[in-house]
Amino acid sequence: MYNAKYIIPGIIFFLALIFAPVAYNMGKGAFEVKPELPKDQKDCIEDAQTMRDKHMQILNEWRNEAVRDGNRIYVNAKGQKFVKSLTNTCMSCHTDKAKFCDRCHETVGVAPYCWDCHNLTPNQKSPIPLAQNGEAGGH
């Protein structure tokens, strides 16, 4: 083999890159994700599969419809009505962001910008001052 002093380190570097994820995960224990589900409630606004796959899409639509069209009532597949509010509806059952939302989001490296504005609990004071006149939107 010619130029072995360049090629062998190159091949070792190439193989090291491939095995880097294996080495990184070594000794970190089994991979497990367990978001803490609310104990007093059984059903979310839609069925679990829909929520798992589409919750971000639903929240995005809620945001747009509530803020832009003032349409704050969501009717689910069963005809039940909910207020379109992350903090007041979602987080009144899923009270702890760190034990529910973050469990999955952090696992797969997702950093949603919901809580840049929204409160963590319905009881917390809003970081955004309420409008002087007209309705005070449920944050």
Binding site: I11, P21, N25, V108
Partner: protein, 333 residues
């Protein structure tokens, strides 16, 4: 026809795992195939490199893209016509990171006024190739979020910048759109430019369509069906921690289609033109310094028993015959 067969092959690679996963063959496409693919990729890649490293380079053949180093008062191009290792290093850095040789691409046209050949600069290949390759790199880095737990900081930063426009939810990655743009251009160039179409074979269309298939199934999973990402990570982590298992939650069949296309890419890689990834570092036209006038280049396959034979010695051997034939000689008999 070559493009059509390539398209059929890629469609087959999507449909087979899509149906197969539905028929309970998830373990085949989700566990067995990825391991086969990565082993074929590693072994094939290394063997190909070793094969190239064993091939002798008989001549000093660097591409001379500029003035070579000669007399001290003649300005030379140390990166385009390197004369030493430092120059070669810089040439390779720019070649690998900025595709400098594609930047020099020209197009030849007969000018309309008359039978005159015109050369013009043609930067689109360089631009779209650069877009495609860098998007692919960013996408590869982003995918590490499925293979590493906890997700490292660098992957978070890549994600943040790739989705900085915050369009929609799940947020759109700019690289997803840009890689499609690059791929469509590279494909259209082969299809619509007659000169390129003439030299395009199935092995040119297939990798393009394969990567296009990977990008489109990826986009489908993220923006259309919205697959269960946690289950996907469970599958990926099982593979990478060498404790493979199928996740408890069902995964959408499109995940298996995406994974199978990626496996096909890995398996195909060592046998194809995609080996330019390693091959660029072993190209004599790029990695040799242009030293042929100042240092002797010995062809490695020369027979050492054959000694150099100078012209003087040649004339000594044949002087009388040369004079007889009327050929000029340096030294008279």
């Amino acid at each position: 026809m070559a493009a059509f067969y390539s398209l059929l092959a890629v469609l087959a690679l999507i449909v087979i795992p899509w149906l197969g996963a539905g028929m309970g063959m998830g373990a085949l496409f989700g566990i067995v195939l990825p391991y086969i693919a990565i082993i074929v990729f590693m072994v094939g890649f290394v063997l190909r490199i070793v094969d190239w490293a064993k091939s002798p380079v008989p001549f000093c053949i660097p591409t001379t893209g500029g003035q070579q180093k000669s007399l001290p008062w003649i300005e030379n191009s140390p990166w385009d016509n390197p004369s030493d290792k430092k120059g070669v290093f810089m040439r390779m850095v720019f070649e690998v990171l900025t595709f400098r040789s594609l930047f020099r691409n020209t197009s030849v046209k007969l000018q309309q006024e008359g039978p005159k050949v015109g050369y013009s600069s043609e930067k689109s290949l360089w631009l779209f190739a650069l877009i495609f390759h860098y998007c692919f790199l960013v996408i590869l880095i982003r995918h590490l979020r499925f293979f590493l737990a906890p997700v490292p900081w660098a992957v978070h930063v890549t994600e943040f910048f790739d989705s900085i426009l915050q369009i929609g939810l799940p947020v759109m990655y700019q690289t997803d759109a840009l890689i499609l743009l690059g791929l469509f251009f590279l494909f259209a160039r082969r299809v619509f430019d007659g000169k390129v179409r003439y030299i395009s074979l199935m092995q040119d269309y297939f990798p393009l369509l394969l990567i296009l298939g990977i990008a489109l199934t990826g986009i489908w999973m993220r923006y259309v069906v919205k697959v269960d990402v946690i289950a996907v990570k469970e599958l990926a982590m099982g593979l990478v921690t060498l404790h493979p298992h199928l996740p408890k939650e069902a995964i959408d069949p499109s995940v298996y289609a995406h994974l199978t296309l990626v496996c096909a890419l890995f398996i195909y890689f060592p046998f194809s033109k995609l080996m330019h990834m390693g091959g660029v570092f072993l190209s004599p036209t790029r990695v040799l310094p242009n030293m042929s006038r100042r240092a002797m280049w010995v062809n490695p396959w020369n027979d050492p028993s054959i000694k150099p034979h100078s012209y003087e010695a040649y004339e000594d051997d044949f002087r009388e015959k040369m004079i007889e034939a009327g050929l000029p000689v340096d030294k008279q008999a």
